[in-house]
């Protein structure tokens, strides 16, 4: 298991698209260091030849009948939009 020195908060905050303040970085770094040290316990488990479990009761290939159903109306879909105009979500300009 990698050690906690590999834990680069700036890189991770960038991947997660969250700005962190200097105070948050200092606090989270220490707290998550403790959590990672605890998680390292898993290295002791013998997982040789063990299959991973993604879901407790694996269900695969769940098919739905191809029948159209009513979805959200445009009005309902836009109801919680931070900014909207002409039945569309408004965002800052993304292309020049």
């Amino acid at each position: 298991m990698p050690n906690k020195d590999d834990f680069n908060l700036d890189h991770l905050a960038n991947l997660a698209r969250i700005n962190l303040t200097a105070e948050e970085k200092a606090r989270f770094g220490a707290q998550l260091g403790d959590v990672l040290a605890y998680i390292a316990l898993l290295n002791e488990a013998d997982v040789e030849g063990v299959e991973p479990t993604a879901h407790a009761f694996p269900v695969v290939n769940v098919w739905a009948d191809d029948v159209p159903e009513a979805g959200l109306s445009v009005e309902d879909a836009l109801r919680n939009a931070p900014e909207k105009r002409d039945n569309m979500f408004v965002v800052p300009k993304v292309v020049e």
Partner: protein, 495 residues
């Protein structure tokens, strides 16, 4: 009249409603009055819509009247106020997840569990507080306020469904719904002295539940009796084409199944896992649980020691899997289509960085960061894949134990309710509070917490019974047998 309405069970109230002794409007009115009287101190609710609740109650009274004329029976939940954790969608009502991110969000549709409760005649009542996005064990991570434990207002109610537990304990709802990802129903039920049931993974549809960790999340009830929990489960369980992980299995009549099992005098074989009684268990909690096991023995149950050898890895595996899934699930909160959008954002990328920085609280950020780390390139095998393999071992432990026992009996939480502020600066200590409940989620099993005593200081203690996959009827029957032999549920907090 009011006082006994407020602490009555669903089955008692259903009888009184059926005999015409009270109306649903009177019941709802009493619950609203109680909420106004005590919620300034308990703070179980984020919000409630009095007019909407009374209008649902009026509609219920009308349905009951019409059913009487037609000579047909109504179900046990008809006209009963059921509180809703603020992560379960109710059309037209707020859905905040106790987060600034969704502070102004209004649900465009009903969750399947909500739709089924309404179809059963229940009144969907209020929006109950939680740890932000259900991440926490105390409700102290709510962006709005901390809910207080009704038994001692200076202590936490547990979490993440702390509002759902506190509302039932304090008479502000007859029952409620919560969600359980690592113990978020069972632990607050234990700390507040009520019954809390986490069904098997896949038993209840997650459609309309705000996702935290999709392979672990499950909706379930809080109630004042095991029978009431069974009634609510019966209403909300079942396959749903809108949740591909909900199972295609018939929903049994849990109440009848429990009664049949009680009549049959079946001699339950109960497993006591030695790993759940070690270091960190509060002596008063340990003593209450041992005395509950003694009660089961007196009833004629066979008590066997079992071993769940991989228990020590459960919390670590959970915090890899749950944070990985949450970092992925919460990527949707980007400030574009709904949720908080930063007013200072200047371009598209800036919207993400600033909206998420402003909208999420500290614990949510910590978990997203940790989840991002364990999934990031080069670390996936070491963390996530290893945790999933450990999950297999944990699940095998339980299934192995079930070859010789029908159910497993443990403490729900290692300690009674702790004082507010006790663990807020130490996330790891908070995580370890879920040590007895987390394995159940990893293995997808049903589990229930029922009251089993009080500490000398008067704080409730919970007993956890863990069942076999999809054998909720047996689980409920084992829990009900203990409940029938004791009267812990008859005590109420003095508010």
């Amino acid at each position: 009249m009011a006082e006994d309405i407020l602490h009555s069970t669903i089955s008692e109230l259903s009888g009184r409603l059926g005999r015409g002794e009270i109306s649903s409007v009177e019941l709802m009115g009493a619950v609203i009055a109680r909420t106004k009287e005590v919620d300034g101190r308990v703070r179980a609710f984020n919000s409630f819509d009095e007019a909407d609740a009374l209008s649902q109650a009026r509609a219920s009274d009308k349905r009951r009247g019409a059913a009487k004329v037609a000579g047909v029976n109504v179900g046990p939940l008809e006209g009963i106020p059921i509180g809703m954790k603020d992560v379960i969608s109710v059309a037209g009502q707020p859905l905040t997840a106790s987060s600034r991110m969704l502070e102004n969000f209004v649900s465009p549709y009903d969750a399947t569990a909500t739709r089924k409760l309404k179809a059963a005649g229940a009144i969907c009542w209020g929006r109950l507080n939680l740890d932000e996005f259900a991440m926490g064990s105390s409700t102290e991570n709510s962006a709005f306020h901390t809910t207080c434990n009704p038994w001692d207002l200076g202590r936490v109610p547990g979490g993440s469904s702390g509002g759902s537990a506190a509302a039932v304990a304090s008479g502000e709802a007859t029952a409620s719904l919560g969600s359980d990802t690592g113990g978020s129903i069972r632990q607050p039920a234990a700390l507040c002295g009520v019954v809390g049931l986490k069904p098997s993974y896949g038993r209840v549809s997650r459609y309309g539940l705000i996702a935290f960790a999709s392979s672990l999340d499950q909706i379930g009830p809080f109630a004042r009796s095991v029978g009431d929990a069974a009634s609510v489960l019966g209403a909300i369980a079942g396959h749903d084409p809108r949740d591909s992980t909900s199972v295609r299995m018939d929903v049994p009549d849990y109440g009848r199944g429990m009664a049949d099992l009680a009549k049959s005098g079946r001699r339950w074989r109960l497993g006591i896992p030695k790993e759940y009684f070690g270091e960190g268990l509060d002596p008063e909690v340990g003593a209450a649980v041992q005395s509950a096991i003694g009660e089961y023995r007196r009833m004629g149950c066979e008590i066997r020691e079992v071993s769940l050898p991989h228990t020590r890895y459960a919390v670590g595996a959970y915090y890899i899997i749950a944070t990985a899934e949450c970092s992925s699930n919460l990527a949707r909160y980007d400030g574009v289509r709904y949720g908080h959008r930063s007013k200072d954002a200047t371009d598209a990328l800036d919207i993400y960085f600033k909206s998420r920085a402003e909208g999420f609280g500290a614990e949510v950020k910590r978990r997203i960061i940790l989840g991002t780390y364990v999934l990031s390139s080069g670390y996936y095998d070491a963390f996530y894949l290893r945790a999933q393999k450990v999950r297999t071992l944990i699940r095998r432990d339980f299934l192995e134990a079930y070859r010789e026992v029908d159910a497993i009996v443990t403490p729900t939480s290692p300690t009674p309710a702790f004082p507010k502020g006790d663990k807020t600066s130490n996330p790891l200590a908070m995580y370890l509070n879920d040590i007895y409940t987390i394995g159940v989620n990893l293995a997808g099993l049903p589990g229930i917490s029922i009251p089993c005593g009080f500490t000398r200081a008067g704080l409730p203690i919970g007993l956890q019974v863990i069942g076999q996959p999809f054998k909720e009827t047996e689980l409920l029957a084992v829990a009900a047998a203990y409940e029938a032999a004791t009267d812990w549920g008859s005590r109420h907090p003095n508010l």
